[in-house]
Symmetry: C2
Subunit: 376 residues, 2 copies
Amino acid sequence: MDIFNKALAEHKKYKGKMEIVSRVPLNNKEDLSTYYSPGVAAVSKHLAKHPDQTNIYTNTHNSVAIVSDGSAVLGLGNIGPEGALPVMEGKAILFKKFANIDGYPIVLNTQDPNEIINIVTAIAPSFGGINLEDISAPNCFYIEDQLKKRLTIHIMHDDQHGTAVVVLAGLINACKVTNRKLQDSKVVLIGAGAAGVAIAKLLYQYAKPNIIAIDSKGVITKKRKNLSPEKLLLSSYSQDNTATDLKGSLKGADIFIGVSKSNLLNKEMIRSMAKDPIIFALANPNPEITPTDAINAGAAVVATGRSDYPNQVNNVLAFPGLFRGALDTQSTINESHKLAAAEAIANIIKSPTKTQIIPSPFDKNVVKVVAAVYKK
Amino acid sequence: MDIFNKALAEHKKYKGKMEIVSRVPLNNKEDLSTYYSPGVAAVSKHLAKHPDQTNIYTNTHNSVAIVSDGSAVLGLGNIGPEGALPVMEGKAILFKKFANIDGYPIVLNTQDPNEIINIVTAIAPSFGGINLEDISAPNCFYIEDQLKKRLTIHIMHDDQHGTAVVVLAGLINACKVTNRKLQDSKVVLIGAGAAGVAIAKLLYQYAKPNIIAIDSKGVITKKRKNLSPEKLLLSSYSQDNTATDLKGSLKGADIFIGVSKSNLLNKEMIRSMAKDPIIFALANPNPEITPTDAINAGAAVVATGRSDYPNQVNNVLAFPGLFRGALDTQSTINESHKLAAAEAIANIIKSPTKTQIIPSPFDKNVVKVVAAVYKK
């Protein structure tokens, strides 16, 4: 049975992956009076007077809503709220496993960005943070930006920032393994959605490499008309570029980063790259090229988004710690936190190798070092 | 330390009453691949094609959103979302304790009924049911009505229907204890909000007693102008009524039901009622009269909303079973379900007495007999 059939069977067996349980005793009338009526009235009155103290008396100190409109689920595209729900439940159990955070899966049957902003704003008092998930570009940029302006709790679109942090962490170590400097590297990035834009921005902030970004229309250059603000920014990251497509751009490139579709990359293209190229083929569930093919074509380091290959670039290395630290310090994440988180994740691997550039999600140091970036 | 100070201290100690935990193993890469990426993609694809099957592959078969706008919290009035949150968390742990249902507390920072309808409609795919809670009248009637029209999942405003079911259950047995028939009784009901309206409607459906309903402006009669549709209905339930206030209405009455404010009822009024009157003083957290005073004035049976007196009229006798049965049978509640639930709760007490007209919330038969009403 392959992993997909196994997943279907297991999901059917468990009928949902999470449950809500009490942390207080509920064994007798005294308990009912203490944790529900009439006792809870005292807590309600207190919080009505001091609404900023919900994190002392309720679960908001530890809760995150995992919100998706189902418009860009994994690599499956716009499959709607029902299709998104098992992913959000998965995220909830990862939050608990890796950071002891209570994640509430909330899928929406609207994809109107202003409606989404209003809904998330309205439900925000219930939670300590909002993890936006699997929302397509460019709506995701606008939604996250507006929510950050409206709300004081931690807001993060994980497909952007979680991914970018882990990609940078992996690249830091992949550069060590291949003896190159990121700032001197030519990076070809295909896919200019949520993840692609955030990766390019973070890499550029970190080391200003030469980044050639490509979307479905080809290389993103200033010459193209009607570029979105995000793509206009990406176009400014490339130096001396004349190629117009992936194949042309890859000639002599040091690093390939794919956050696009399966099978976009072939062996010939890899052979045209610089010596010991780094291949991050991150399309989900199927990468731009298989690791076996990439290595056969000369790739020195290969990373994918999957847990069944070495070097899994998985958001789970970033989001649990980023939210754990934000909840504990009542902070919101900024650019320096993200850069520090990427370095902290990379530094966990003392001696990176071709097949180990990033730590395992099960390494308990990961959440600790990432959460600690808020304290610096 | 009284119950209110104890509740404050305990809530501060636990910092929230619930948590979200995994029901699936998450111990290695194989588990990650099965319950998250890449395996979950198979489940997402399947649900995108078959959105009606979330209850087979996700937690919607067992989940209920507990939604409040904080406009009518307990007896405390409009105290906002933060004040409402500890009550909703309390409800979540009661759902789990009594019916093994996963309740998600969601408080809203809007009180606009149309916005609430849009928000609940948008988040509905995440859940198997919606428990509306502590939303003030008359908005609660409109919101529940519109949501029932828009959504196919089980919707219930517990302050209305949960309360009404338990009040009717208690009255059935209180009538047995005092040897009267509900259909021949004069009932004085004070408080014409969510609970009062629903109680009057259910009692009238059950036995057509003479019900005199009173709101803050006095007895509700057809002579009053600008009555809401709900209050107009209530006015049609009274026979031969000339009194205009609580004191006058209570003369010779068999049953007092208060869902209003503390200290509205005094001993003199009880003495003016029929022999062996039934007093349901349900204001929360402090009843319309203390049970001690009511009994001293001649009350035969006294019920309150509190767990620290005998005969607690507590919604927890109704909502867990009503939602358990609805989720298990994929039904929505109707009037005959509510009447059957009230009778089922009453019938658990084989030989009712003055101090035991309703079962304890900890009686495990309660949820079973209530959930079973959907199968009849």
